[in-house]
């Protein structure tokens, strides 16, 4: 409060009022008639009808009432489902984005969905967009942030012509994310992903002592699994995964079928130029560039899989097991060789097979000989027949 009551003078002596002093008598009841309007009147009625004119009783009642209403409101609030969108903080770097640089924006961040990113559903995108629009619509901003002008001619005119910049960014973000094709293109080059992609494990890292294979590569493959056309993607698994699981995993990743594409990074075709050649040239370049990036991407994934395979402790384990199995077989440990046969049996089998083959050969030879004979006989018979026919003609 601006006004401060001046301090009491030191010389001031408290007067002692006469003990008989009373307020002057109030106007008697019925002197005035209240107008029955307004919340204050309701409180007055409560006071006189229910609380024996005691303010403390009324206060208690009102407090209880307020709590009841508050709990009602709280219940009402939880019923509104925001689909988990929540409210993300908007820092200055987001609010001051330049809508002209729209290709460089992080749309998930603009819509406050950076905790979902590519996992955000269309409903969540719609909800988040609506929420942002309500908050940042230029109509709302004009009144709150309009700079004031000292010029009398401009009073009431909104001078801040750029205050819809962020709104434009929101619109663009929604436009991209709500279109599946555009969203796919954007997700392919999602700036957040690109950042993460920067620090992929290298061969050198994997050699270091405190390198944790599963921790690192689970993360890596999880990141890339978003691009798979086939879902769900098999996980890297754990140290005790079976041979089939491990092989299935590497099989999948060697045949990885990705939808990732790089149209987003195309150079803009210069719209202004009429030259068809120019356009075609740019388009062609874009196309080769896309293909190049795609190829790079495939190579990168392949490289990662190779790397993983090369350092996968399970592969070593499996190889070891196979080797052990072979050695055990060689040593002929019974029971362990299971279905495999002894060397003797094998040789017998071989012999039997050879014999069978020989027999077969012999039979075939015989058959061939028979066929030759039959052919020759048939030819002789034909000759004979012709000769007889000629003789008959000649006679």
């Amino acid at each position: 409060m601006a006004v401060i009551i001046p301090p009491v003078a030191a010389s001031y002596k408290t007067p002692s009022p006469p003990s008989t002093s009373r307020l002057s008598a109030p106007h008697p009841s019925g002197h005035r008639t209240l107008l029955p309007v307004g919340p204050a009147y309701v409180n007055h009625l409560r006071l006189s009808l229910h609380h024996q004119h005691s303010f403390s009783a009324l206060d208690k009642h009102l407090e209880a009432e307020a709590q009841r209403l508050a709990s009602l409101n709280a219940n009402a609030n939880t019923e509104v489902d925001d689909l988990g969108v929540g409210s993300e903080e908007e820092d200055d770097s987001i609010l001051t984005l330049d809508p002209k640089e729209w290709k460089k924006h992080d749309y998930y961040k603009v819509l406050g969905l950076s905790h979902f990113r590519h996992n955000a559903t269309q409903e969540q995108i719609k909800f988040a967009h609506r929420k942002k629009v309500l908050k940042h619509h230029p109509d709302k901003k004009a009144s709150s942030t309009a700079p004031t002008s000292t010029s009398a001619f401009l009073t009431g005119v909104n001078l801040n012509t750029n205050d819809d910049a962020f709104f434009k960014c929101i619109s663009k973000a929604h436009e991209v994310l709500s279109n599946p094709e555009k969203r796919r293109q954007f997700d392919s080059v999602d700036p957040h992903f690109m950042d993460l992609e920067e620090d992929m494990p290298t061969a050198a890292e994997t050699k270091s002592k405190n390198f944790e294979f599963f921790k690192t590569f689970t993360h890596v493959f999880d990141l890339y699994s978003r691009f798979s056309k086939v879902q769900p993607v098999p996980g890297l698994g754990h140290i005790d995964s079976t041979k089939e699981e491990v092989e299935g995993f590497y099989d999948f990743w060697y045949n990885f079928d990705s939808w990732r594409s790089f149209e987003w990074m195309d150079k803009e075709v210069n719209e202004g130029s009429d030259s068809r050649d120019d356009k075609r040239y740019t388009e062609k370049k874009n196309k080769t560039e896309r293909a190049r990036r795609k190829k790079e991407d495939i190579a990168k994934v392949r490289g990662l899989v190779d790397l993983a395979l090369s350092v996968d402790p399970r592969i070593k384990r499996i190889k070891q097991q196979e080797k052990e199995a072979r050695e055990a077989k060689k040593r002929g440990v019974p029971g362990k060789a299971g279905p495999s046969k002894t060397k003797q049996e094998e040789e017998q089998e071989k012999k039997r097979l050879e014999e069978e083959a020989a027999q077969k050969e012999a039979a075939e030879q015989a058959a061939r000989a028979d066929a030759k004979k039959a052919k020759a006989a048939a030819a002789n018979a034909a000759k004979k027949a012709r000769r007889q026919a000629r003789a008959a003609e000649g006679s």
Partner: protein, 658 residues
Amino acid sequence: MSQTPQTKGTSTPVEFNSFAPVVGINFGNSYASIAVHAKEGQAECIANEDGERQIACAISFSGEEMYIGNQAKAQLVKNAKNTIINFRDLLGKKFSEIPQPTTPAASAPVIQHPDLPDTAAYKVEILQPAPSPLPAPSNPTSKVGTPAMNTPRSEPVRTTRILTPSEVASIFLRSLLTSAEDFLGKKVEGAVITVPAWWSAEQRAALETAAKDAGIPVIQLLEEAAAAASTATSASWVGDDAASPLLPDRTQLIVDVGSTSTSLSLLSIREGLSYVLASSYHPDLGANQIDDKLIKHFATDFTKKTKVPLTVAPAPADSVQDQRAEARLRLAIEHTKRTISASPGAATCSVESLKDGFDYTGSINRMRFDMVASPVYVSIADHIVSLLSSAGVDSHEVDEIVYVGGTGSLPGLDEKVGSAGGFDEDRVQTPFARGTVVGGGVGDPTTILARGAAAQAALITALSSNSEEDKELKEAITHAEGDVNKVKATSRTLGLLFPNSTEEHAELGGVFVPVVQKETALPARRILQLEVGLTQDSKRVAFEVWEVKEGIRVEKVKVEAEPLSDGEDEEQEDEFEEVKHKIISKEILLGALEFEAKLGLQVKGKSELAGTWSTTVQVQFIVGIEGELDVEAKEIGGSAEEGVQPAVVRLHVPAPSA
């Protein structure tokens, strides 16, 4: 030195049901308006299907058609005898009680009901649609095989219809209800309708019956002054911040200028609780008189421009042309008046084919308009002065003027009332001064009553929860004829005097802070916080509780004299000028309290107050129902030191033995 103590009232805002489909209806004699309780917890005046927020109380029958509202008013020109206006004031009145008009009526005349004894009625000519012909015979083809032709509907029958004022009101109210339900998209669950304060119980009952017939679930019939107070005490009116010029305790003058009558009410508003200190009703004074003067002005102008003689207000009984011209002018000047109210420039009045085929277009600027209307303004101001003097309230004690009704939007009226009423121009608050009149602001005089009624409807509906207490409260509010509203009120102002011996405060011996104003309904509680200065050495806080008498000291000062320090005087051409001062004289010392401040704070920084000590003291006054007084002064959080018990002192003054 002005004190603005931050008072915390007993009025915790009551939560409303967010979307209660309730309406407030201002049912005037000439115009009606509807308000609904809108989303933001505020009442809002709505427009009917024709886009009119001010709906003329008129019904017109023309052939088979029935017109209601402003369309019906247009029928006054050519179909006056079938157009019913001014029916509200006939509700609940016997025919013999209605004064017979001296001049021929410009609308359907009031007649004695042909069947019912001593009942007023209107007789209108209508075309009744002929009964639909008998349905075609069951065998729809004739013998030849061609389909039989349906019998054509016969011509509508010319007939007369007798309508009682109650029936007319019922038809009109139903149209209002339909408009409201169209707007809300829901069925209206409750309505509060305004009535004039001077209405008798019969008139109220008649209105309630008419409303019931119209299907309106009436919650309460609310006095117009109360409806105005309901709006004028709402948060949207006062404003949220503490800097609002409207104090929670104020004396308010309501100036309600209707078409046919004017009523004035002087209210005492004490933290939302309001009651009437004095009121007066002037049935002969209203906007119709301004209209008469205005159309005379335009008629003279018309004659001057076209050389066609035109006599209006009143038009000669034998000249239908003049009567029609008058009706046309009356319709046209509605627009003129609205333009004058809304913009500072000149307003036009144009009527096509006013008389003898001559069109009329004239304009009037605000100054000329005020000159024309000045006699009416002056008589309103005179009535205000006499009301104030009868109530024993000085014009300088009025803190706020509220205008109600379309005429209240005229800036000239405000100027005239302000100057002729002798109000303290620096202090008195009007909607014009705050700029809330135009553009449908909170101070818009045309919608105040309807909005107040809607807020009241919402307030009562919010009570209808299941608790017993609320039911009883609702009963008490809606049938408030009982004794609950008869209250005791303080007769003198109570306050705190902080002793100080400086020159500035020599008159009273200290700084006086009023706490409980006079005319405050009992029981009353006031809580205020004050910054009290301390000295370096002593942390003593001391004050006295006084009952004081307020008065106005009138000084006659010569113009040549030096202007007084408080600057309340203005230079005028009179040789002597009356300067009014508010004065306070100490009457009864009720007690004195002092304590040592424990939570004092030293002001830091570089302001001129730096180095001084102060503390925050919260003082609570409770004046009980019998007039006993309890004062509690408590030191509150100056510094955040833990473990320091703040000083609390109490004072009890027993009730006067009356």
